[in-house]
Symmetry: C2
Subunit: 452 residues, 2 copies
C-alpha cells in the first residue's frame, strides 16, 4: 500500500527544494520519475529561475510534452527558449492530437514543419482537423480520436469490436458516439450503458439522445459552462452539417475554468493569467511598468483636479487631511459592485435585460451605506476639527461619491463589454479614475463654494 499513499503537494515541493539545494541530482531525477507530468509542471512553476533551469536540464531531452502543456505560457516560453529540434520531437511524441495541436501552436515554425513531416497520413489529417479551428473554440480543444458505432448493430457486436481494438481504445473513453453512414452524429452509448445492457439489444435501443453536440465554433468559455451545467465528462463536437469531428474531455474544461478564474483575478491588477511568479526581473518589470504607467495617468488626473482647488487647500488645511477618505471610500464601494458585475458578465448572468435591476439594487445599497458611513465620518470630523460645516460637507461629498461609485461599478463593465474591451482588465482603472475625480471634486468643490 505504501507506494500508492499520496504525498501532499507541499511536502513534495519542500523535498524538491531540499534535493536541489543539496545538489543530489540523481535523487532529483528519481523524484521526478515518480511524478505525473502536471505535478512536474507544478514543481517547475514554483521554483525560482536558476533552480528551474537545473531541474529542466535533467528532464529536457526525454521530456514529456504533457509537462510543457501544463506549465503556464510564460514558464513554457522560458523553458523552450533554446530547445533543440530533437527535444521538440521527443516532446511531441505520444501526445493526443488535441494536446499535440496545443503544443504546436507554441512551437517555432521550423519545428512545426518537422513535427508534421514526422507524422503519418492518418495522424496528420487528425491534427489538421484540430488546427483548422482557433484554440479557444470547441474545434480547437477537441480530440479527433473517437470510437464510433452504428445504431443498428447489437451490443454484442460492439463489445466484440472493442475487445478487438484492445489497447487502441483511447484512454479515458467513457462513451462511444453513434453515427450514421454519413458520419452524422446521432447520440451516445456510454460504456456504463454498454456493460449493463443486454447483449442482444441494439445500440439504437440503449443509446442516449439527450446530449446535444457542441458546434466546432463554440467559444471555449461556453463549452465550459455547458460541461458544468450538464455534469458532462465528455461531449461530441460536430461541424455545421452535424457530422462528428471529435470529442472534448473534461480535463481540458477544468483547465479553462481555472484559467477563467485566474484571468479575472490577475486581470484586475494588470497581470495575465499566464503570469509566472518567478519570471525574470526584466520581463516582469516591463509588464508591470505598463500597468503603473496607465495608473499614473489616473493619479495625475486626480492631482490635476486637486490642483484646481489650491485656494481652498491653502486656506483650510483640514481639507487636505480629509480628502483621501472621500476618494478611498468611493473606491471601495465601487469595486464591490464592479467585481460582482464582472463576474456576472463572465458567467453570462448579466445582460441589458437585468441590468436595470442591478443598477437600482446597487444604488439602494450605496444609498444606505453612504447614509451610515457619511454620518459616522461627519460625526468624527465634527469632533476632530470642531467644525459642523466641515462635517456636513464631507458627509455630502461622501454620499455623492459613493453613489457615483456604485453606478460606475455596475455600468462600466457592461459598457466595456459592449465596446469589446475586457472589463476584467480595464474596469478597475476606470473605476478608480471616476471615484478619485468625483471624490476630490465633490469635496473640494463644495468646500470652495460654502467654506471660503
Amino acid at each position: 500500500m505504501s507506494e500508492i499513499v499520496p504525498v501532499s503537494e507541499s511536502v513534495q515541493l519542500e523535498r524538491v527544494h531540499d534535493i536541489l539545494d543539496s545538489g543530489a541530482l540523481r535523487a532529483a531525477v528519481r523524484l521526478l520519475d515518480s511524478l505525473a507530468p502536471a505535478e512536474i509542471a507544478h514543481v517547475l512553476e514554483s521554483l525560482p529561475s536558476t533552480q528551474r533551469e537545473i531541474l529542466w536540464g535533467l528532464i529536457r531531452e526525454n521530456c514529456d510534452g504533457a509537462v510543457l502543456l501544463s506549465v503556464t505560457d510564460e514558464v513554457r516560453a522560458e523553458l523552450t527558449r533554446d530547445m533543440s529540434l530533437a527535444a521538440w520531437l521527443a516532446a511531441s511524441d505520444d501526445l493526443d492530437p488535441d494536446d499535440l495541436a496545443e503544443l504546436m501552436r507554441k512551437m517555432p515554425d521550423a519545428v512545426t514543419r518537422q513535427v508534421i513531416n514526422a507524422l503519418d497520413e492518418q495522424h496528420r489529417k487528425r491534427l489538421e482537423a484540430v488546427l483548422a479551428y482557433p484554440q479557444d473554440t470547441a474545434g480547437g480543444l477537441m480530440n479527433p480520436d473517437t470510437v464510433t458505432v452504428r445504431p443498428e448493430v447489437t451490443l454484442d457486436v460492439v463489445a466484440r469490436y472493442l475487445r478487438r481494438l484492445g489497447d487502441q481504445l483511447p484512454r479515458d473513453t467513457d462513451k462511444l458516439f453513434v453515427v450514421n453512414r454519413d458520419d452524422h452524429y446521432l447520440g451516445v452509448l456510454s460504456l456504463s450503458r454498454l456493460v449493463s445492457g443486454q447483449l442482444d439489444q441494439s445500440v439504437a435501443e440503449v443509446m442516449s439522445l439527450d446530449l446535444p453536440p457542441l458546434p466546432a465554433t463554440m467559444a471555449a468559455s461556453r463549452v465550459a459552462h455547458r460541461f458544468e451545467a450538464h455534469d458532462l465528462l465528455s461531449a461530441p463536437v460536430v461541424d455545421e452539417a452535424g457530422c462528428l469531428l471529435g470529442r472534448i474531455t473534461i480535463d481540458d474544461v477544468v483547465d479553462i475554468i481555472r484559467e477563467e478564474g485566474e484571468h479575472q483575478l490577475l486581470g484586475q491588477v494588470g497581470l495575465s493569467e499566464s503570469a509566472d511568479m518567478f519570471a525574470p526581473v526584466w520581463a516582469s518589470t516591463r509588464r508591470r511598468a505598463t500597468w503603473l504607467g496607465v495608473n499614473l495617468l489616473t493619479a495625475l488626473l486626480a492631482s490635476w483636479v486637486i490642483g484646481q482647488f489650491e485656494l481652498a487647500l491653502s486656506q483650510i488645511v483640514a481639507l487636505a487631511v480629509l480628502m483621501p477618505i472621500v476618494a478611498s471610500m468611493g473606491g471601495i464601494a465601487g469595486s464591490q459592485t464592479l467585481t460582482l458585475a464582472i463576474r456576472g458578465i463572465a458567467l453570462n448572468q448579466l445582460s441589458a435585460k437585468n441590468m436595470p435591476h442591478l443598477l437600482w439594487k446597487e444604488l439602494a445599497v450605496g444609498a444606505v451605506n453612504s447614509l451610515i458611513w457619511a454620518t459616522v465620518v461627519a460625526v468624527l470630523v465634527a469632533l476632530w476639527f470642531a467644525s459642523w460645516s466641515l462635517a456636513v460637507l464631507i458627509g455630502v461629498a461622501m454620499t455623492i461619491n459613493l453613489l457615483c461609485a456604485v453606478l460606475s461599478g455596475a455600468f462600466l463593465p457592461l459598457l466595456l463589454d459592449r465596446l469589446g474591451i475586457d472589463p476584467a482588465l480595464a474596469g478597475s482603472v476606470l473605476l478608480t479614475t471616476v471615484t478619485d475625480v468625483v471624490g476630490f471634486m465633490a469635496f473640494l468643490g463644495l468646500a470652495t463654494l460654502f467654506l471660503l
Copy 2:
C-alpha cells in the same frame, strides 16, 4: 436533429426574461422543463428577486433537489426560506447520497430528521457515512455508491455481474474499484479496460495500480489539485485503514475549482463567493457596510498621518496636490505582488522555501519600476511646479513607498496564512494601509525635513 441543437445561455436568459415580462407562465414552465437543473439554477441566479420568486413558485413543489444544490448559498437561503416539508422531501428524492448529504447540511433540523426517517436502512447508512466527514473534505464530497469487484474473478464474470445490475449501475460510472475480502482498496478497473480486455483475463491482470486513493480527511482544495494533476474523472476515497468508503467524481471537483476562483476574486472586495448579484438590499448592505467600516479605519489612519504634517501642508499647497500620486502608485505596485502571492499560496506553490526568491525578485522589479516612474513623476513635477527640490523629494518618496509596497505584497499573504487568516480576505486592506501610511509619511515627512 433540431431538438438537440443547443441554445446559447444568453439567448435562453433573454427568453426567460421575455416570458416572465409577458406573464405567459405556461410558456415559462415549458421552457423550464427543457432545461437541466444547473441551467434552471443559472436562470434563477440571474433574475432579480421578484421575478425569481415567480419562477420559483412555478417549480417549487416538484422541484429537483439538484436545482437547489446548484444555486449559490445566498440564493438557496432565499428560495427555501419558507419551503414546506413536502417540498423538501420532494427535493431530497432521487438524489445521490453525496448530493443528499450536501442538501441536508442546508436544511432546517426538523426537515433533516424527517428526511432521514424516510430512508431505508441501506440508504441511511450510506448517508451517514458521508455526513460523518466535514463538507470540505474528501469524505464529505464522496458518493458511497461504488461498484466493487474482487481481483481474482475474470472479466467475463464482471461483465455478467454488471449486466445483472442493469439500471442499478450508478450513472457516470467510469471505473470499478477492486477490493479484497476486507474491503481494502487494491486498484481500479476502468470500464474502458474492461470492454477492451479479453474475457478470460482476471481483474488482477488488467487492473490499474497507479491511482492512489484519497484519504477521507483530505481537504477539498487538495482533492481538486489531485484531480487536475492526474486528469482524473473519479477517484476512490478510503479511511485510515485503507478500506474503500466511496468515490469522488469530477463534477464535484469542477464546483470546487470554480468556487476557489470566486473566493479569491470576491474576497478581495470583502464579498463571499456565494454572493448573490440580486440579494435583497438589506442583506447586501450589511455585508458591504462591514467592509466599508474596515476600510474606513485604514482611511482614518491615513488621514491621521496626514494630519501630523499640517504645518508643511499649510505652507506648501503642492504637497496636498501631489500626495495622492505617491500613495496610489504604491498601492498599485503592491497589489500586483499581493495578487501573485495569494495565488501562489492558493495553488500551493509558495512556501517559506521559495519565499526569499520571490521577495528578491519583487524587490528588483519594484526597484526598476520605481526608478522609471519616480523619474517620470519627478520630471513632470519639476515642469509643473518649477521646483527641483520638490521633484527630487517626490521621486525619493515614491521609491520608498514602491519598495515597501512590493515587500508587503510578497510578505503579508504568507504571514496571514501562517496566522490562520485568509489572505484573500484581509490582504488588500492591510496592503492599502501600508501603502497609504508609508506613502503619506515618506512624502510629507521628507518635505517637513527638507523644504520647510
